[in-house]
Subunit: 463 residues, 2 copies
Amino acid sequence: MTGTETATRSRVVVIGSGFGGLFGTRALKRADVEVTLIAETAHHLFQPLLYQMATGILSSGEIAPPTRELLSRQRNATVLLGEVTAIDLTARTVTSEVLGRATVTPYDFLLVAAGSTQSYFGRDEFADFAPGMKTVDDALELRGRIFGAFELAELAALRGEDVDDLLTFVVVGAGPTGVEMAGQIAELAQHTLQRDFRAINTRTAKIIVVDAADQVLPPFGPELGAKTATALTKLGIDVRLGARVVDLDARSITVEYSDGRRDRVPAVTKVWAAGVQASPLTKTLAEQSGATLDRSGRIAVQPDLTLPGHPEVFVVGDMIDLDHLPGVAQVAIQGGRYAADQIRRRVRGREPQRRFEYHDKGSMATISRFRAVAVIGKLRLTGFVAWLLWLFVHLLYIAGFKSRVTTLLRWFITFLSRGRSERTTTEQQVFGRMAMERLAGGVAELVSTEDSDHPPAAEDGSV
Amino acid sequence: MTGTETATRSRVVVIGSGFGGLFGTRALKRADVEVTLIAETAHHLFQPLLYQMATGILSSGEIAPPTRELLSRQRNATVLLGEVTAIDLTARTVTSEVLGRATVTPYDFLLVAAGSTQSYFGRDEFADFAPGMKTVDDALELRGRIFGAFELAELAALRGEDVDDLLTFVVVGAGPTGVEMAGQIAELAQHTLQRDFRAINTRTAKIIVVDAADQVLPPFGPELGAKTATALTKLGIDVRLGARVVDLDARSITVEYSDGRRDRVPAVTKVWAAGVQASPLTKTLAEQSGATLDRSGRIAVQPDLTLPGHPEVFVVGDMIDLDHLPGVAQVAIQGGRYAADQIRRRVRGREPQRRFEYHDKGSMATISRFRAVAVIGKLRLTGFVAWLLWLFVHLLYIAGFKSRVTTLLRWFITFLSRGRSERTTTEQQVFGRMAMERLAGGVAELVSTEDSDHPPAAEDGSV
């Protein structure tokens, strides 16, 4: 099966349609190779804007364009939908499955860019109560939970019941995603939703950010971290640092501070924006190549991003343990392009480049509308200037795909009117069958267990 | 419990956030009443554009704005999320439930506008294999199935397998929704998706419309029906009239023609755009008031839309059996407004109007881009002129809510570029757990049963 030489062109298999996989594939456009991109979802996901989908600003189509469409004009690329279940480094094949049916794809070069999943630091049971922020489904689930919490609070208030835990939102993780989510939930509670309810005052909602670290946005340095923390506090967000999550259930979250003190916060809606875990594919790669894995499951690759003893296998992005690279889109994009370049050189019989060098283009995070923080080299920006830069960079990226005029326009409308045009939730989310199973008696139990104590509100009337 | 007279203002309960419920509530804006709108979903659904969501043109937010937002400035209206489980005409209360918890709301006036659900004419098991076109979830499910069928066909073709049934789409029902769906699927197969796949030619997809009636678009009359049928045929759509669906499963649909001949068509994707059934709430209303129900579950109301013996209870829209009114948005809108007007008059002690009179503003349906058919009074329009009219009327309606510039822009982009910006599907749909349960071994079985015969495509390579 190894190297069936029917095709004259080298066969490149790319695993993953994220930043690494997509940009790696695109960089092979003019190379004399046949590329097969294998991915679990039919779309590329622009993950840095997932929080905007979760909070009703953007639609799924705006941050998750179909991979096929993005590659439709690249004739040497084929998209294969499927979950990769096995990689055989000796036979040089990748096995992928859809609906239980397997496809085996042989390769001459392999680019593994399967990214990372949410990590609950060994407490996977937390996932039911605090969804992560990694997929379109996560964002829809969180959209359903966030808007659903206000709906449930209104119903409870109409019955004269306490709504504190329903109107408390805890974001775990004070990195860019956590900061952005907290800022947007504050915006919803304080502005967008304030006229929509009759029995609750959405402005009384509590938004709490907890992180085990002792600063906000650690990669941005202490100065910007402190400024961001102040900005969040001014938005009414309760920032709790040095606070480790020790327990989570449907109704509450318990944190432990560095001094050992514990605090149980009643809160129905929790968002998990903390750690990540490399795709489990690193395990099979490590077993077969002898490369080591770090605590987060990231694999130690060679300086040229290949596996030890396998110069034909590249691993990029969130999956690799190399030079303490951060888990950001640029590392994956540059890694994918570098790997593509190496493959192109080798196919042409040229000398490969020596090693992968990451060029830090800076980091940024939005705090609220018109406010952001950014680090570019030694430059540190905050406030409106940083926000303009954020807007510019994201528009540039999105425009790179196709003219996403609707996204631009939607942002324009959102920033000016504070409106949220994508608030629609589906049955499958919070109020649906599936979420019911998933919450395993969580919110459902929360609103129904007290039935015996509180008879229906007929007597006092509910309006 | 009846008439707890704590409130000095009359209490109006509205059931349903569709056209009847929403427009009825809005018409009570300046009335001296307290309105409670009870609905199962948090959004108003602009159902005539659901087919655009199913085929990737519009996002859920664009056709399903939050009811709360639409009513946020109407201070006398409260939105209550919940499924109505009981109406007590004697006690004058409505019981609604969320997550198993009941709320009882007393009323002085009741406006029932709960609409209709899809009818499978007693064959509810068909629903698993041919989703209807009534809800946001239906549209997402169909979006997942339609784009998913092309994905599965590509996978099958890469394995060298037959893809005929995967590339056959059957729309049941040749009314406006059926015609619009068929036209859009044809557009997808023939234009939008044609460059996206490598192993299949999407232009070979078969699109079939079946209807037991002997013409397309019966309410538009035989002349426009024939013109529409010709237009559909020119688009490559196979129109089969006088064809009754007698069986459906995961892989096929069987129709019986008027001459008794039967035809089993292999087709994985089926869309049910045929009959409707009034909300089951008509049953309890009929039992308590003595009003009769017709075959579709619609209730016989008085000429003033009230229940016999209950001048305080109005029923509007798809739920009523009166003067052979069609099941269109305008009947519900005008009914809701009429009922609101009656309530306002009575609250002020004025004489009620005599009877509800429906003013037919015409009907229209799009066939493909730039082509539509329309009937306005005696005027019959086809082609580009009818399409412009369609565009104008829909923009006018959508603009009525708020400036939905993004929708306008998205249409503009769609019409000019044939692009589809909302193709994203979620895990919960076709490729997810839930759909798996729902299809009960349908598509899953389809692609996996032959595993034993066809070993994984390793030997021949799949690329």
